[in-house]
Symmetry: C2
Subunit: 295 residues, 2 copies
């Protein structure tokens, strides 16, 4: 199990009662598979995983496994506030055909390193390969390189998804993680507007929000960076700067829900209390996306 290349994180279409629209989800996933993304990050933060029940998450994994049919590696968010719930979700995902789980240390009471370590140990014992999902902006827990290194020594902990640092710091951050982690451990990055630089620096994977809605565009950037073509990577990155600005201003989460709705995907609204973009913000995003005309 090796996570490499471009991982696309789609939204999860759902109705107001929290029921996932698996038809709409499959429409999104079919586009990702057709474009040729390397993996799909189903039920990631962009996919609103903590807002759905265990049963709904199970329905989403089954629908995704059926739709992808092995064309892209299926990664599935198995994070939960309780350790026993995360263990159940990992078992469910494994049984439904997930290749690996994305495990974020969801917190309410702030967690300490030893608590997160034991949480990962318990979930890894299900046998599902795990990617450490480091997303401090939502989980409010930050993995130190030391903790990533310790976790990489657990059986079945195979990868980390870290927020990408500013481009100038990417080589050093990557080098430190490589030094701490076990050989063969996959080191990848999120934060789309810094991901090109991280791939150029030699990262194994880009965990991408834009790839969940504009997979062909993201693939062009990923393939250029993986081939070491800095000029083309930077050209595409500059072309996308208006989108990155929207992500930073309105959150990528809100922007890609609107982008999916504009692309005709039903039920492309975030779960309440999160509200769809409206008014001037919606108009700004609509205009910018219209001008970019991404695929």
């Amino acid at each position: 199990m090796q996570i490499r290349g471009l991982s696309a994180f789609p939204i999860t279409p759902s109705d107001a009662g929290g029921r996932i629209d698996t038809d709409a989800l499959q429409r999104l996933l079919a586009r990702l598979a057709a474009a040729g993304v390397d993996s799909v990050g189903l039920l990631g933060s962009t996919g609103s995983y903590p807002y759905f029940s265990r049963a709904e998450r199970g329905r989403a994994v089954a629908a995704a496994a059926e739709c992808l049919g092995g064309r892209a590696t299926l990664l599935v968010g198995v994070g939960a506030l309780r350790t026993d719930a995360a263990v159940e979700l990992a078992r469910d995902a494994r049984q439904a055909g997930a290749a690996a789980g994305l495990l974020a240390p969801v917190s309410y009471a702030p967690l300490r390193d030893d608590e997160v370590f034991e949480h990962f140990r318990a979930v890894a014992e299900t046998g599902l390969p795990l990617c450490i999902y480091n997303n401090p902006g939502t989980t409010h827990f930050t993995f130190s390189p030391d903790l990533v290194g310790r976790l990489s020594g657990l059986p079945n902990v195979v990868a980390v998804k870290n927020p990408a640092p500013p481009p100038a710091d990417a080589p050093a951050v990557l080098a430190e993680l490589r030094e701490r982690a076990e050989p063969g451990f996959s080191v990848g990055f999120s934060v789309d507007w810094h991901a090109g630089a991280a791939l150029l620096a030699g990262a194994d994977a880009w965990y991408s929000v834009i790839a969940g809605i504009y997979p062909a565009t993201a693939l062009r950037l990923a393939r250029a960076a993986q081939a070491g073509d800095a000029a083309e990577t930077q050209r595409l990155d500059r072309m996308l700067e208006p989108l990155w600005r929207l992500f930073r201003t309105h959150s990528s989460y809100r922007v890609v829900h609107l982008a999916a709705a504009l692309a005709g995907i039903p039920n492309a609204v975030p779960p309440r209390p999160v509200l769809p973009l409206s008014g001037a913000a919606r108009q700004e995003v609509e205009q910018a996306l219209g001008a970019l005309a991404l695929d």
Copy 2:
């Protein structure tokens, strides 16, 4: 509905599978009622509310209503990540005999003010009086005085529980909240080691962790402060400084679980991934609590 005086926030004893031990909970609650606390904050952050299912939370409210029998006002945490879930919990709590709900804006995707406002509006429409539960350390959302003021204008939003500022700032913080909020709105504070000063400054309520395990001690401090006896308030506060230090070092959440276990309460362990204090930390807390001998 007016929340005033000392509100005691107990832990929620539960087993490893997330089933609440209602017998153990009633033992804790009976002590609080016998001591004479003004209200009980059942299923607050100290009571681990987001870690329990809707069914378990319902069992806890029913057990508390039965045990208290009106001897103390019953406040119940009704926070949830989804708006529809919080609405259901508020309806459940109202039907089971809660006098008011404690509503924290639990978040994963970071929330904006308008989203939190609409969330509160939806839950308030259940008819359950609500206390705004401002706990940025766990929810990662901070209520501005302006937002508290706007929310106080909604029917059924009757109180706010804010983290108490350092003592020197208490009068100004309280004055600003009073100015923004509707007349008759209850302004109260958490953070035990700053609560005496907040009550001396004229706050309506102290939302107290220590009162959930040592109610008589907390009542002595609360009554001195409510009577304007600054010397006695400060004497008791200084006497409790070793406990406040433990709270700041190990989190009040972990410390009071151990305190309850030491007091013989069964199933007084936090839900995993949170681990009970162990080793040197446990020894330190045991010794300090033994030396204080609080009631």
